[in-house]
Symmetry: C2
Subunit: 446 residues, 2 copies
């Protein structure tokens, strides 16, 4: 066994509960009612914890969007309800839950997230996002504001939430039965924040957790996204298809943290990963072909657009011809096009090109567990990320497979811990303790 | 054993988790950290379920108010988080959770409450209230609007929430793996409600629960409160100090339901009750004296005001003199004054008068379990209520005492069921099934 000083941090994407593939709910062994069945989510959470995964990542979605096709939800039934239940059945794994700053009142989310942080004994993190989906806005009787307004509100909401989290000082909760002093009110501070978009007086009547207060994650880069990552985030949920792109994203997040007076190491960058695992490449592809049996033909025209070729659904079971391969030009509009062409040149049928996950939302190493581990090692050692958020194709067996087959290889190579090193999410992330709004942000805001 | 055709329905008030007395957290055997300890709440929920109590009632509070004295919270750490955890450890008891219509977006609460209804397999109810506390408003950067505005918003929020709950029709969730049809989109209806205060497009991506959708409770009477009770409520959380007042409140709620085209029996009225149980009256009083040891003197002046007498804290350990009893005049401003005078005339010390709970928020029968059962029987048979919401003084042993000592007497008298008769809260309440906004309300609104 070799060791390196730096080890990767891993998150597991819980998604809708079914898995990251749209047809995961139809996969063999999957209960199609798992969406509403907390027992199923408990199985998945326990499988991830068995693998000492650092955190579960729960996305969120505030509308049924047209892209949902057959009406398949894009998130768990409700992240807060789901985490509150999973907290009962796990003891070490963290939870990173997406919640929008656009349609929530800071007091309400500050309370629920802090309640989860306290009842999980310090295992909670908030992925603070903005929402730009008009269908979501319509569910709140609103329209989507311009980006500066959305992010202006996001900063105010995050600052108010962090300040509310710090309402009860570190030692405020005396709960001394003898003296009758339940809380030391001298250590309870109102918030009194009033911004352009929101305001909250506070205090929030919840004591600190074992990690003080939840950590903040952010997702999405760009100039605006980086102001969130730089000021508040302990983790960034990234999306990149190449090592170069991931390194650039990670560097930008670290620079943003530095710009706001923080140590760049306080911000961990997580690359997305959708491994397709089988004992051989062919077995892995067969698994995916089965999942995509119906949907693959519908995706052929889009693959064609990526390659600059007019491809039709009925051509799904043939490889590209030599003439087509010669004519193919990867689209500059889709960063996945280059890999799609590389896979096509290996002679696979169009169905198998698609089965390689070339139009998935994240990179998809395909094959035996060591292929996935190699891939992760290469990215990690190239400085492309501090860890990964892993999206199993089908949760029911995909989490077990990753935990039982990939995690041991990573451990053997010294790339991943043998066991949890701490009990809180901040400890898992190496994030410093915090009580209330970061003083560096206070300073800047005042 | 005698039987009556009508049996009472019982709720158990979970409160802060400690119990209804402000000093419950200091009582012997109570963990002063129970506020944040879900394990403690689980014990209480299981105790209530062992007694086949129909539902747990969780109040809510959106601010630390000055009346909180030493900063003791007035509600659980978060009702949604608490119920999601308790749902895992119980299987039959219902949950009635208070949530304000004033500072919540209908889409957010519709989603969380429906998620809880689905994951509890149809055991959820929403106590839909308005908030008039300025400290709560300040936590949302607002001030308290006039009553017509608060209730105007309340009606819109409840209607939007009920409509969102009905988004997926009764048979919409096909989840058919063979055909690949996850949901029958023909049975998924948008909501498209736009009112004066809120709007929501919908649909909400959550299927019906075993009871279709949650029931609505309301609290608070008056002209405005009765429009909520009459239109939507399956249960009313009442507060009355006399049978006459309770009968009047119950009659008003039933008449309101009739006025809105509903069967008055659809609305169950629950009287509040704070039993003080001991094997003798003296033992019960001793329990309470211990709880109030420090706070009793502070309450003496208020007791004096109730009786029209100038009483001072240092007089707490003497009875009223004959001259005082002759001079005493029950205050017309506090409905508890008459009973306070009756207790005083029995010759108790002021401390013991207070220990009778004469300035508690609900009637407090004092003594052996049969006294409590007699009291409940009298109210129930007088038509003062359809059942009670019971507030134990201290949850840690108070729920067990009620379940083990009062419930068996009620059962023996045929006043309370021997076991749960159904699995859903609607079944416990005898509430009719509902999918979406009640058509009688739709008709009226359109």
């Amino acid at each position: 066994m070799t060791t390196t000083s730096r080890q990767m941090i891993l998150g597991m994407h819980l998604g809708t509960g079914y898995g990251s593939q749209a047809n995961a709910w139809r996969a063999p062994g999957v209960d199609p009612a798992a969406y509403t069945d907390i027992e199923a989510q408990v199985r998945y959470a326990r499988a991830a914890e068995r693998g000492t995964i650092d955190f579960l990542f729960l996305p969120d979605n505030l509308a049924i969007t047209p892209s949902m096709g057959e009406g398949i939800p894009q998130a768990t039934i409700d992240p807060v309800v789901t985490v509150a239940a999973l907290a009962r059945e796990t003891s070490r794994i963290g939870f990173v839950v997406t919640g929008t700053t656009t349609f929530n009142e800071p007091y309400n989310i500050a309370r629920q997230y802090k309640a989860l942080d306290v009842t999980t004994h310090g295992r909670f993190g908030w992925n603070a996002v903005t929402t730009a989906d008009p269908a979501a806005a319509a569910n709140f009787g609103q329209t989507i504001a311009e980006r500066p307004v959305r992010y202006g509100r996001a900063h105010e909401v995050i600052q108010a939430v962090q300040a509310l989290w710090g309402s009860w000082g570190e030692e405020a909760w005396t709960r001394d039965k003898d003296s009758g002093r339940f809380v030391d009110l001298d250590q309870v501070r109102p918030v009194g924040l009033r911004g352009e978009y929101i305001a909250s007086q506070g205090p929030l009547p919840i004591p600190p957790s074992e990690q003080g207060q939840p950590v903040i994650f952010s997702a999405g880069g760009g100039e605006y996204g980086l102001t969130i990552a730089g000021r508040y985030a302990s983790g960034v949920i990234g999306a990149a298809f190449t090592i170069e792109d991931a390194r650039a994203q990670r560097r930008a997040a670290r620079q943003a943290a530095h710009r706001y007076g923080r140590n760049p190491d306080e911000v961990k960058f997580f690359a997305g990963l959708m491994p397709l695992i089988g004992s051989t490449v062919e077995e892995a592809l067969a698994r995916r072909r089965h999942l995509d049996e119906v949907s693959a033909p519908r995706r052929v025209p889009y693959l064609g657009a990526m390659l600059g070729l007019p491809l039709e659904p009925e051509q799904v079971d043939r490889p590209l011809t030599d003439a087509e391969l010669a004519d193919a030009r990867p689209s500059g509009f889709d960063p996945r096009s280059q890999r799609a062409l590389e896979v096509a040149r290996q002679g696979w049928t169009i169905r198998d090109i698609l089965a390689h996950g070339v139009i998935d939302y994240h990179p998809t190493p395909v094959g035996p567990p060591c292929v996935v581990a190699d891939y992760m090692q290469e990215w990690f050692e190239a400085g492309a990320c501090d860890g990964f958020w892993v999206s199993p194709d089908v949760n029911e067996d995909g989490i077990d497979t990753f935990v039982d087959e990939v995690v041991p290889i990573l451990r053997e190579r010294g790339l991943f811990h043998e066991d949890y090193q701490g009990t809180t999410l901040r400890e898992h992330l190496g994030a410093p303790a915090q009580y209330g709004l970061d003083p560096r942000v206070w300073q800047e805001a005042s």
